[in-house]
Symmetry: C2
Subunit: 426 residues, 2 copies
């Protein structure tokens, strides 16, 4: 690797004087040090107000002169067609966030040495705008997406921003694209905020410039003709994430390495792969395969304990799983609405051994993935080493009652059928 | 994450019919399965000859009409100025590699939905062209770079290619840029082959199209005024790589997450960070911090065992370290030339405890980083938890004899002063 000490630090001197950086490090180091103890790592200047604030009054809008036609609902493919415009904001280490712009959807023109192409300086979010029965446009928990995007950006030395201001910009952009939001339940406008490093040099260091852009794609329901339970292959030869790594951030870095294991699973007839993390189980002293997440979704397990207690569980936020917004929503709703019905709801580690035993003893009720695209995704079975674990769906059934209930609760809120603080009319 | 089953597989149907993919999976699966047992994962179609061959006869060359001026040697900064041209080859899942092109150095124009911006579909290489005293241009072990680039690409479902053909193209490109290759020893033309996924959809799956491009930047010596030993901070709060992860591939994914720990080290006055991997030491049953690599270089330790035996060691290729070309060269030369002098040369795990004990007992002789940029980089001390480990350099000395000897051997070969099969005149 050809980095150089001289290029490593500070953030490109083409953009920021060393003295400016030193000042900001000095101001923020104690806070940084404190954050180190928790889960978020960030560049020393990540919290400098001068570098994180966005001036909404500077927004410029250029309308397209060639509006696109609307793709019919039944022809929508996830992330393939986009709306007329995009929103973008450039950042430099010297000037912070420059005035935001809404422009016609257009190519990015970037020097081939730009750091996003070489060193993985990229993070993104996935969120949706929904149209309710009254014709209002709604966002679902956008504050959670902005918080996570800031955590992701900070982890790879990209700039952070004022999340509320970014939501205002996204709101303005989405309103401009209203005609692309399908009004049928299950349909929505998928919004993709993206941040990339744009420094045009090959030195390995914190980017001296960056770009946030937001594009949007009208999407249909994950299951247009009703649920279809999927089969998983538990991956035993590759590891997605580990404590102290970046598997809990929504970085480009976490996605490309997942494709081959997914293709391998598919080559053996399974729909997705299940990611495991193998370590000593403190309870037994034995090496165990712990469940983490499925493909690009978080995983939930509904089972009956040996004493008959019903439990909904998902892996804890230990750095090895993505901190999903849908995961958080499922947990919150389950705690509010299932606990009174006698359920235990737990974020805890679960081994494949426990899952397999529960299945063998008829105690495994349901397993489902949870993510922005599908909301929930029922799982029929899991191929694991020499076993095929049946996840409890009756033959002929494609979804269990917990999974179905959760989808109805969440979609009810997303589409404004149930008034809830998570759903924001814009 | 908003992926969809429909978009996961196969490689974009916009580029390749499902039947073509199925055929190629069927042909290659046994081989794939076998490869799974070793270190390389690849997409099922990674070895299809139709998709990996390059037709050199199709090369088109467009000369620049605005040749750049040559940057004076003393003003060269790593990876900041580039030559007049770039070489590029597009790939599609349908047609394989399209005719290669050498064009004026120019921006890439990419749709904002292109998968390289979102999912980390990017891998690269770092190699150099040297001018020898006779004015010949030389490459150093380019076959190793092409092998690794293919391994990296395959790991993230990007296409592979015929490495010999790619070297021929790089050769032709470098010859065109001859005037940019500084002729002084220590100077060279840094060559950056890059591969990116170019599919313009947000579905998470194997890219249906990709681009290889090669750019080049004249660079000066890492230590223009002689060696300067550096200080390291051992990072105990973040982990670079994990067995079963992708830390042994040269992916963009491995770089951005390393910047904040490097900035944190710098904020505490250290030049680089040292990556550790913590696990149970089978020899003792204790949890130990094992040395892996330094910043963006491999790490070598020269020490005297308790019985007086001199040993040069580096971490083994267990998936947690990059498979460095310089690392491999140092090992080969050490085995050939140091073993006869009574040294042991080992790829083995080494704990911080062992390093610290050796230092305390005066048995730690030298520590150095090894990589393409610096060849070798001497290390003065390592801050580790509450200790500062002195790496054996006498006060006032900036480099030890082993480190210096290794640099002289390798540079001697690179600049053609010693004829050696590693150095190829083009």
């Amino acid at each position: 690797m050809a980095s150089s000490l001289r290029t490593l630090l500070p953030r490109s001197t083409r953009h920021v004087g060393a003295s400016a950086l030193r000042t900001s490090s000095r101001c923020h180091l104690p806070q940084q040090q404190k954050r180190l103890q928790s889960t978020t790592l960030a560049a020393p200047d990540a919290l400098d107000p001068k570098l994180t604030s966005i001036d909404l009054s500077g927004l410029s809008i250029t309308q397209t002169t060639t509006p696109k036609s609307i793709t019919p609902n039944e022809e929508l493919v996830f992330g393939r067609t986009f709306t007329d415009h995009m929103m973008s904001i450039e950042w430099t280490a010297q000037g912070g966030w420059l005035p935001p712009r809404i422009t016609p959807y257009q190519n990015l023109s970037l020097d081939p040495a730009t750091c996003v192409f070489h060193y993985g300086f990229e993070a993104f979010e996935g969120m949706k705008a929904y149209k309710d029965r009254q014709g209002n446009i709604r966002l679902f928990r956008p504050d959670k997406n902005m918080q996570r995007m800031n955590r992701s950006a900070a982890r790879i030395a990209l700039p952070t921003f004022d999340g509320k201001k970014m939501i205002e910009l996204i709101t303005q952009f989405v309103k401009m694209e209203e005609r692309f939001i399908p009004s049928k339940r299950g349909y929505s406008l998928y919004i993709r905020p993206t941040i990339i490093g744009t420094q045009r040099t090959l030195g390995v260091g914190p980017p001296g410039s960056a770009l946030v852009y937001v594009i949007a794609s009208p999407v249909g329901p994950y299951y247009p003709t009703g649920f279809k339970a999927i089969s998983l292959e538990a991956t035993t030869y590759a590891v997605r994430a580990w404590p102290g790594g970046v598997g809990n951030s929504k970085l480009g870095a976490n996605y490309a390495p997942c494709i081959v294991p997914q293709m391998q699973a598919a080559a053996r007839g399974m729909h997705q792969n299940l990611w495991l993390f193998t370590e000593i189980d403190p309870a037994t002293g034995e090496k165990e395969d712990f469940i983490t997440e499925v493909g690009t979704m978080n995983l939930f397990v509904a089972l009956q304990n040996k004493n008959g207690q019903k439990e909904l569980l998902t892996a804890p936020l230990d750095g090895t799983i993505l901190e999903g917004v849908t995961r958080d929503s499922v947990l919150a709703l389950a705690r509010e609405r299932m606990v009174p019905q006698g359920w235990q709801v737990n974020e805890r580690k679960c081994t494949m051994r426990e899952l397999s035993e529960a299945a063998a003893e008829g105690r495994l009720l349901e397993v489902f993935g949870a993510g922005t695209a599908a909301v929930v995704s029922p799982i029929r079975n899991i191929s694991y080493r020499d076993q095929m674990i049946d996840c409890g769906l009756s033959p002929g059934k494609e979804v269990g009652p917990v999974t179905l209930q959760m989808k109805d609760w969440i979609e009810g809120i997303q589409y404004g059928e149930e008034e809830h603080p998570w759903s924001i009319t814009i």
